[in-house]
Symmetry: C2
Subunit: 363 residues, 2 copies
């Protein structure tokens, strides 16, 4: 097959979800993939699922992908560097500073190592959950350090592109700080709010709207996995949460004397900072445009939403985003549709003409 960039033989060490998915994806492009695992049965399973072949005498991998848990990543990377003195070695752990420090302490040849982090995953792990398409459309960070140039890591970029992901260059410290901000701290903030719900009455929880649901959604994540991730990136996460605690302390002081003008000002300033912060999140396709929102009432019967979207298509309007809201106590739902502002007025009129009930969502 010629529709690939990566030319090298690839050895994957660790046949869990990520390792097996990389193997499946590369084999779909005709790459010769070798699968290794400390567990022979795990290796057999991954091979049975088509992630690659067993190691053999004469293997000369040009690229080695270490896909093992963070706490053993550096040890395995060091062993592979030593065993294959010609190969480029990478890993896919979700933290990058710690493993690099361990490798520095072990005095290995860092000119052949560069870590990466594919921002993809599934709820269930293991080769049985692996998918060749796991990485399609996902950012995949190549976490540089001063022992190697990004150009020397070209096969890694080839692999990322072959797997359909988007390579992003970022040094290890920036990586760990970035994921602390956009992934690890939000995880904990959602968790902190969700934990408060244990104190609420059932009647209070019955009033929950879309705002609470959205704010706490990721608090459903697996505690065992996240304890490991947060432990491995604790410093960077604390750097986000400590100033957050400073803001919270000022907020609590303001709430203790809410009628003081200074308190009103402090609350208003924090809310404005929140507006500005959320405005910095890139929109769809990496741009920052804002869309107009149209909220349509959807009766809870099969096919209503499909009919709405089909009719929006018939009006020639491209929907930029869609969010469903439910009213907890009734069988009524609302579809919040984002479209370019120019199209909003005409579409709203057309939908009302077609018999839909339009409204706007509670914030």
């Amino acid at each position: 097959m010629n529709d690939r960039r990566l030319a090298e033989q690839v050895r994957i060490v660790g046949s869990g979800l990520l390792g097996a998915s990389i193997g499946l994806g590369l084999r779909a492009h005709g790459v010769d993939v070798i699968v290794e695992d400390t567990s022979p049965s795990a290796r057999k399973l991954a091979i049975a699922y088509g992630a690659g072949r067993a190691p053999a005498g004469g293997d000369r991998p040009g690229l080695i992908v270490v896909a093992v848990p963070p706490d053993v990543t550096a040890t395995v990377v060091a062993a592979e560097l030593k065993r294959y003195p010609e190969a480029l070695v990478t890993d896919v752990a979700s933290v990058k500073v710690g493993p690099l420090e361990e490798l520095r302490e072990a005095r290995v040849d860092l000119s052949r190592y560069i870590g990466t982090h594919p921002m993809a995953g599934r709820e269930r792990g293991g080769a049985v959950s692996a998918r060749a398409d796991l990485f399609i459309g996902r950012p995949w960070i190549v976490a540089g350090h001063d022992g190697i140039g990004y150009r020397d890591a070209a096969p890694i970029e080839d692999m990322i592109l072959d797997l359909g992901a988007v390579p992003i260059e970022m040094d290890v410290a920036d990586h760990d700080r970035s994921v602390a901000l956009v992934s690890h701290a939000p995880q904990l903030v959602a968790t902190l709010m969700a934990a408060r719900l244990l104190d609420g009455s059932a009647a209070a929880l019955g009033l929950a709207g879309q705002g609470l649901r959205d704010t706490t959604r990721i608090a459903e994540s697996d505690p065992a996995l996240w304890t490991q991730i947060l432990g491995a990136n604790a410093g960077a996460v604390a750097e986000v949460l400590r100033p957050l605690r400073g803001d919270l302390d000022r907020l609590l002081t303001a709430l203790d004397s809410p009628d003081e003008p200074a308190s009103r000002r402090a609350i208003a300033e924090l809310l404005t900072a929140g507006n500005d912060g959320v405005g910095r999140i890139p929109g769809k396709h990496g741009t920052d445009k804002r869309f107009a929102s149209i909220v349509v009432k959807i009766d809870d019967k099969p096919g209503e939403l499909a009919r709405l979207l089909t009719e929006i298509g018939e009006e020639g309007v491209n929907m930029e985003d869609l969010r469903l809201e439910h009213s907890p106590e009734t069988r009524v739902g609302f579809a919040d549709i984002s479209v370019v502002p120019e199209a909003a007025h005409t579409l709203a009129a057309a939908l009302e003409h077609r018999g839909w009930t339009l409204m706007e969502a509670e914030r």
Copy 2:
């Protein structure tokens, strides 16, 4: 018209979004609605939009709805109670303890007053944004106190039902505590996280996934409005946020020594509490069932999502929920579809057979 419960003539004081929407909704049922406002031009506008008629000699309202800002609610309620000694008076302010205390201090006749809170709104205020259907499917709390029984407030429940909302009985203190937990505290938690994004690099923000987007979505809300709401319910909000700060302090201590077993345990316990908390939020239709999730890749071209939903309908499967995810750097999207677990396997197979690519979402 006979399709109504409410028999009384209704007087609405305050012709902003809520007052005018109540007027529009009741007039659609044939109720005689009188609109009053301290601003003659605002009153004229609301009447022009069809929210009711101007006051006249001989008006004998059986129900008066005070729909003015929270800080003047008690004053206006007291004046209306005095002016119409036969009428039942309510208000629609989003906090309930403060206005009642003011009325107690003013020693008015509380046997004819009971406050309410419709959990509905729009981003824009004023009669121009008013909608007869603003309240459909929304919870509308009737906030009881010991000066009046819920049975004596039957016309208020009639009005709520006529407007399509769901009346919920709850005393004033429970109301303020409940909205602090499910609405006001989440607003601030989302804001605290969003404010941290001001410190992030553009590259870090470029990695933002659906988790960050959901956690911070409501931080877009209007600072002026929320400063007033939070000020009026400061005590109850602080009662939620103070234990949250306690959890955050313990978390920061754990993050400072992440390798200690006690730290790992503290982080794991918090994450588990978050799991349990989010599990208390009622699901669709007020039940707590869990659904199976199927994630389908959607190419970014018009009509793809409509086609998917139509085909799901053709398979005879009722979709319980739908969430769209976007990959920030590419033109690929994912539809996360919730269905009853029994239907998941068959539907997934059918969709793959129809040529869709299935995957699962990153948590």
